[in-house]
């Protein structure tokens, strides 16, 4: 009896195992040479029609989808908001790993794209002759969608940084708008002394902000050559940033409110958060999220490390990419092209998005647009200038999504304890390097 029971249990186990093995056998992805598509193939796909699923959170895409469906009545585009930023990447990575439910088109931020490109999860758009768009997009975003030899997305927007400030607060306390980071720190002290409820900005540790600040300061902590990766936060640019920002943290001059929380929006509206150093996509968010700030906010160039300088950096910005596991790639590419390089780009710019196409960036209509929210200021002039002054030579890690997810474990300590920002960055560097090695990269 005992022997039989064992055998039956074994049979059951074997059955279960077989099932499991069958389930995970389907996850493989082919890494062979890619299919080539010509312009005729793409046109044929549009004529034939069909349905594609687009995962994106960018608000102006809604109108683009509507226009696209109107223009090509046979095509149905399902626009799904599968989360913003890393939440969407998690969902996307899981869908790709599972081999089902993968969208045809996905919005991916520039910092995250190398990771997807490396895993061969996204289609190299050179197979659609996307290289002919050289010159269509401004240099920063166009470089950002490249990984190695391939082009893994078409740029949708970009985020050259600028100083958004609440003019009312500055005027009230008679403080000049800072043009250098030294002035910024001085203004931070003056504002907080004048009214203890007012902070120059809020920061609780944000990987995107920190890396962009280091970028502007001329730091190049990440050096990537294929699978050889160097991480070093001890260079001059990184130190410039940590020295300055450490003062603000130590003197408690930055508000401990988490970005994008309700309190944050409230603070932007009631004047307790006086400035934001952030990407050029912010106006749309201010207009929709901070109605109380209408007329009070203005845009100024990003504060400089040297008086009279012009250096800026990118913060955020994303493109549309086509997952390799997607079903209808020709149609997916048709939509991607429409939304980023063709009519869609114009539609989105009108909707308040910051364009990545040179045509839109230099159009008089765009530059001369007066924003009632910014008191009639021609805000795009400042932002477009910033796009031209982005410091070159920056690169993100091929596993930046993960690195950013552990930012608060390490650098976050600097915001809630005596840990120095520079030590936090060092810990982040080590944790990122460890992950890189685990993933098979040659680190440092």
């Amino acid at each position: 009896m005992i022997r039989q029971r064992r055998r039956s249990v074994f049979t059951a186990l074997a059955g279960a195992l077989a099932l499991v093995l069958a389930a995970c056998g389907s996850g493989g992805s082919d890494t062979g040479t890619q299919e080539q598509f010509s312009a005729e193939d793409v046109q044929a796909a549009l004529d034939a029609g069909g349905t594609i699923k687009v995962w994106a959170w960018e608000p102006t895409l809604k109108q683009v989808v509507a226009d696209f469906q109107q223009k090509y009545p046979k095509v149905k585009v399902e626009l799904v908001n599968a989360g913003t930023g890393d939440k969407q990447y998690t969902a996307l990575q899981n869908a790709i790993a599972a081999g089902s439910g993968v969208p045809d088109v996905a919005q991916i931020e520039y910092y995250a794209l190398p990771q997807f490109a490396l895993a061969k999860s996204m289609t190299d758009l050179k197979s659609f002759e996307a290289d002919k768009f050289e010159g269509t997009f401004s240099t920063g975003p166009w470089t950002s969608v490249h990984a190695g030899e391939g082009i893994f997305g078409l740029p949708m927007d970009s985020g050259p940084m600028a100083l958004f400030y609440n003019k009312e607060v500055f005027d009230k306390h008679g403080i000049a708008v800072p043009t250098t980071w030294d002035e910024y720190a001085t203004a931070a002290r003056a504002l907080h002394t004048a009214d203890p409820k007012v902070y120059i900005t809020s920061d609780t540790g944000d990987a995107g902000f920190t890396t962009s600040m280091i970028w502007q300061a001329g730091g190049k902590p990440y050096k990537v050559d294929g699978t050889n990766v160097k991480i070093d936060f001890s260079d001059e640019g990184s130190q410039r940033f940590t020295t300055m920002w450490q003062q603000l943290i130590s003197e408690k001059l930055v508000s401990p409110v988490n970005g994008w929380s309700d309190q944050w929006y409230q603070g932007l509206g009631d004047g307790s958060i006086a400035t934001l150093v952030i990407g050029a996509w912010m106006p749309a968010n201010l207009q929709s999220g901070v109605a109380a700030g209408a007329g009070k906010w203005r845009v100024a160039p990003m504060p400089q490390w040297e008086a009279g300088g012009k250096a800026t950096a990118e913060n955020g910005g994303s493109g549309l990419s086509i997952p390799t596991a997607g079903a209808n790639k020709a149609l997916a590419y048709a939509f991607t092209k429409y939304a980023t390089a063709e009519e869609g780009a114009t539609t989105r710019t009108k909707g308040g998005a910051f364009p990545a196409t040179t045509a839109e960036l230099s159009s008089q209509e765009f530059l001369n647009a007066e924003f009632p929210y910014f008191g009639g200021q021609k805000a795009n002039e400042v932002l477009a200038q910033s796009a031209k002054d982005v410091v070159g030579g920056w690169s993100y890690l091929p596993f930046q999504v993960y690195a950013n997810s552990i930012f608060n474990d390490t650098v976050g300590k600097a915001y809630v304890s005596d840990t120095k920002l520079s030590d936090g960055l060092k810990a982040w560097q080590e944790a990122s390097a460890k992950y890189g090695k685990d993933q098979g990269f040659a680190v440092n």
Binding site: M1, L13, V20, V416, D438
Partner: protein, 323 residues
């Protein structure tokens, strides 16, 4: 196909069709054992539906996790069999052990406090001297009916030092309470939420155990002149030992599996709750933001084994006391 056989309970069913792992030759050689064998096969047929479900929903995930834990899938280099390497890595991973240390501390402090309070409430409700007993019982139990996610969000708002209850108290009395969401206090803050959630649940376990004590015992104790305290120590507490054991084991498992509360508070206090705050949260991060499914599976298995060992040791100790 079946060899000649005497009349049976289920004559029409062909055995080999259902569980056909048997060879006819083997059957012939064991012909003499037939009646005994038949009984056992019939039994298996009855439990087969359960076994299939059991294999699918209980065994398959475990087997799959074990299978995953033997591989290593890298961004560069792809999937490869690595044997026990993942286990070696997890067992020497300081992040893993710090998270185990954290939940162990939580277990040692929070569980006794919670069970003691639950016991106190159960005894109070059982004593029959409490005014509004039913209301009291329901009120204490109610937090358990609140989903953990909602409870945590609620407490998270209260803990806020700027707009929350803590902030309001600070403002109203001009004092500075310690920030519950700072790295030093956040584990205590989570302990408070969990205690609030589960006192009622444990109270109910104790209360129902107290209810089955024959009333006649109390009567005879009273006749003998025993005080209420004596009744508690000599009658109620010994009768509660089994229930106490069960509640303890549930709480141990619950502590080691701590996930909901820190995962939700992490959004509010990202610098205080790290991604490796508890073993479960660590496994979650490895899997969902790190794409390290293999390491994640290994952490899950190691943690499962640790939980089993601790629960078993506690049970062993409890049983020895019994005997």
């Amino acid at each position: 196909m079946a060899p000649p056989q005497p009349a049976t309970v289920v004559p029409d069913v062909d055995e080999s069709a259902t569980l056909g792992a048997d060879k006819p030759e083997a059957r012939k050689t064991r012909k003499t054992e037939q009646p005994r064998r038949r009984r056992s096969w019939v039994g298996w047929r009855f439990v087969a539906p359960f076994l299939v479900v059991f294999a699918l929903v209980f065994l398959a995930p475990i087997v799959y996790s074990i299978y995953l834990s033997f591989f290593q899938n890298r961004l560069v280099g792809g999937n490869s069999f690595v044997g026990l390497d993942n286990y070696g890595e997890v067992l020497t991973d300081p992040q893993f052990w710090s998270s185990v240390g954290r939940v162990s501390l939580f277990l040692v402090v929070q569980v006794p406090v919670m069970l003691f309070l639950a016991l106190l409430v159960a005894l109070a409700v059982d004593s029959g001297r409490l005014y509004g007993r039913n209301f009291f019982r329901l009120a204490v139990f109610l937090p358990y009916a609140v989903p953990a996610v909602v409870a945590t969000l609620m407490w998270g708002f209260m803990y806020g030092t700027r707009f929350g209850l803590v902030g309001n108290i600070n403002e109203a009395f001009g004092i500075t309470l310690p920030d519950p969401l700072s790295p030093e206090w956040v584990l205590t803050a989570i302990g408070n939420i969990v205690t609030w959630e589960f006192i009622g649940y444990n109270m109910l376990i104790f209360y129902s155990a107290l209810q089955v004590i024959p009333r006649s015992l109390y009567e005879s104790a009273e006749i003998d002149g025993a005080s209420q305290l004596r009744i508690i120590t000599s009658i109620k507490l010994p009768a509660l030992r089994g229930a106490l054991m069960i509640a303890t084991i549930f709480s141990i498992i619950g502590s080691f599996q701590l996930f909901n509360e820190p995962a939700i508070l992490q959004k509010i206090a990202p610098n205080a709750i790290t991604t490796d705050f508890t073993p479960n949260l660590y496994a979650y991060t490895l899997s969902f933001s790190g794409q390290q499914y293999n390491n994640s599976a290994t952490v899950a298995i190691v943690m499962g084994v640790i939980t089993m060992i601790v629960a078993y040791l506690v049970q062993l100790r409890g049983m020895r006391k019994d005997g």
